[in-house]
Amino acid sequence: MRTLPIAFVGPVMRKEFRQIRRDSRSLIFMIVIPAFLLVMFGFALNFDVKNIPLAIVDQDGSRTSRGLVEKFRTTEYFRVKAEPDRTADIDRLMARDKVRAALVIPETFAEDLLAGRSADVQFILDGANALSGSTAAGYAAAILQSYSQRITLQAMERRGFGSLTLPLKTDVRVWYNPELKSAKFLVPGLMAFILMVILTTSTAFSIVREEERGTMEQIRVSPLPPAALIIGKLVPYGLISLASAHIVLALGWALFGVAVKGNYFLLLLSIVLFLISGLGQGILISSITRTQLVAFLICVLTTILPTFVLSGFVFPVRNMPVAVQVVTYLIPAKYFLVALRGIILKGAGIGAFWEQILSLAVFAIMALALSMIMLRRGGATRGRRTRQRSTEREHERIPERRAP
């Protein structure tokens, strides 16, 4: 009796689909959780610095100083929350988190300017949140700078230099994400994160569960080839993850206005390659663990953390120490992210990220090959561990006698 290896895939696939269908918990895990995560992260993980609560102490109260205050009032980056009379009050406001920044205009502000001296304006920042603090400082500096230029120009005009223009005029344009919205940047990252976590965890679980229940042993004594088992599991879990990825994309568009600019098939290709490497990782994890709990912990450690921290999802890889940058080359999500951001945000063609696609393909092939080897070997090593345990425990027991 010879059966082609491909003929074994069908029964495994049908079995997996049936099991997934009956296990509503894991279906929810794969479909609902990703969408939920996107909404959560999309709104919560907001690096945009806007509406920073500001206190203004205008000790001068002149027309010039009010002009400066007006500048801070009209920008969306700051919101004036308090106008205390004394600088001493700032400390209290900041400690209670009422304001995160304070602007102090000294009494002599207008006087100094008129006299042609430079006026000291104090800008105080709450450094407890370093990230938003430095952004706020940048905004404040820019506002003060432009106001200062205006005053200079006005003063020079008054002295009879006529109408003047600044020698350098900067015109900053942000491409791909003109409003510099975090959400646009995050949706591709979230997709990588969600796909990786969901697929790796579900695959690892589905195999460890078979080991726990003993069905894997039953499969090992059958002629079913490991490759058929892997493909039979890859297809259902892959399709569900793919559906999940599309839900994330649709939500990203509906909630955050992130539309796919580039080629859809390139997007699909990178997703599929990425899914295969995630699946392979899941099988590898399942081959070194015995219980679903341990499998889950290892999945968290090897997917959530690296994808979150090392892939460039949140922290740019460029800013990492060199040693850490080297490690990031081992994270498939890193390549996936570059490709994904390229396709979704920039609408770039394959020329821009073929290296990433190639790396993903290498990861996918390696993961598949390794997982087949591990599944084939699994029987021997696992058997040994079980055997040894039961032998140590029950070595001396005498056969039971049973009533006939």
Partner: protein, 319 residues
């Protein structure tokens, strides 16, 4: 090819410093019900796992259905069925879905599975329950279903590793009827058990202790040939005290407790009766009765294990 469906030569499995199966050799006739009898951890499952290609032997050879286990494990898999100690079907699939999946795993076409399905349902007594989830079945049903799945592809050899654990006596009897039916159809059944009463159903037996085969033959041969000395059953109501009293006597060859009575092996029946009465009288024990009994497999087993342990001790003591 010889008439044997399984041939094992000097099979050994070591795990680190521990020898689980130690130089085991035997042959199994086609269509035999071959019993592997031993305590938990004696090496039964390890042997079965090597024969099914789940474990690589440390040394020795084994052929199953004419294929070498070490060199052609994939071929072996096509001619055997295996039922593990632990119930291992998919609890979240229905009866029919399990049968269909394992049919596929054994490379049967969908058509072939369709034609085998009624047979398995009939055999396991699960007709009309095709659509029940397997987890809702009782242990007895599950075991019959597992056996059905193991013989779906009509293998010539089935390995059953402690198949009747945790089953009620009626289901156990039914299961053994199925095993007999398989044997009648010339299927070789290799079954491990630690239930001595089940061993009586086998037509060829090996006793395994601490990884070694200590005795072999049909149950009848074992009982008549291994134990030549008469065995007296002493009922006294004070079995433990009686054991203490008799244990050290030089004329007592072997003694062990069986429930509330004592089995005492002696060289001669009449002399033995006299000596037992006299020794127990000194200890203040009055036996209710003393009967000569036909040795049970358990007597054989204990006899062989004690013999084996004594040998092992002498071996260690020797310089």
């Amino acid at each position: 090819m010889a008439d044997y469906s399984i041939e094992v030569k000097s099979l050994t499995k070591r795990f680190g410093g521990f020898t689980a199966v130690d130089d085991v050799s035997f042959e199994v006739n086609r269509g035999a019900i071959f019993g592997f009898l031993g305590a938990n951890g004696a090496g039964k499952s390890t042997t079965i796992r090597m024969l099914c290609g789940l474990l690589d032997p440390t040394s020795g050879t084994a052929t199953v259905g004419g294929f070498d286990v070490g060199r052609e494990p994939e071929r072996v898999k096509t001619v055997i069925g295996y039922m593990s100690q632990k119930f291992s079907l998919y609890e979240d699939l229905t009866v029919a879905e399990n049968i269909r999946f394992f049919g596929g795993a054994y490379g049967l076409s969908r058509k072939a599975v369709d034609s085998r399905l009624p047979w398995v349902l009939e055999m396991a007594g699960l007709k009309g329950r095709e659509r029940s989830l397997t987890r809702t079945l009782s242990v007895g049903w599950k075991q019959r279903l597992a056996l059905g799945c193991a013989v779906l592809h009509e293998p010539g050899i089935v390995f059953l590793d402690e198949p009747t654990g945790g089953v009620d006596p009626a289901s156990r009897r039914r299961f053994w009827e199925l095993i007999n039916e398989l044997s009648e159809r010339k299927v070789t059944v290799f079954v491990t058990t630690h239930y001595l009463d089940e061993a009586e159903y086998c037509n060829d037996l090996r006793l395994i202790h601490a990884g070694r085969i200590v005795a072999g033959g049909s149950p009848r041969e074992l009982k008549s040939e291994v134990i030549r000395n008469p065995i007296l059953e002493v009922s006294s109501g004070r079995a433990v005290d009686a054991l203490e009293a008799l244990r050290q006597e030089p004329w007592v060859l072997e003694t062990s407790i069986f429930g509330t009575s004592l089995h005492v092996s002696v060289a001669d029946e009449a002399e033995g009766r006299r000596l037992i009465l006299e020794r127990l009288g000194r200890a203040g024990i009055v036996p209710v009765r003393i009967d000569r009994i036909v040795p049970s497999l358990e007597d054989v087993f204990i006899h062989k294990i004690e013999e084996h342990s004594a040998d092992a001790k002498n071996g260690e003591a020797a310089p």
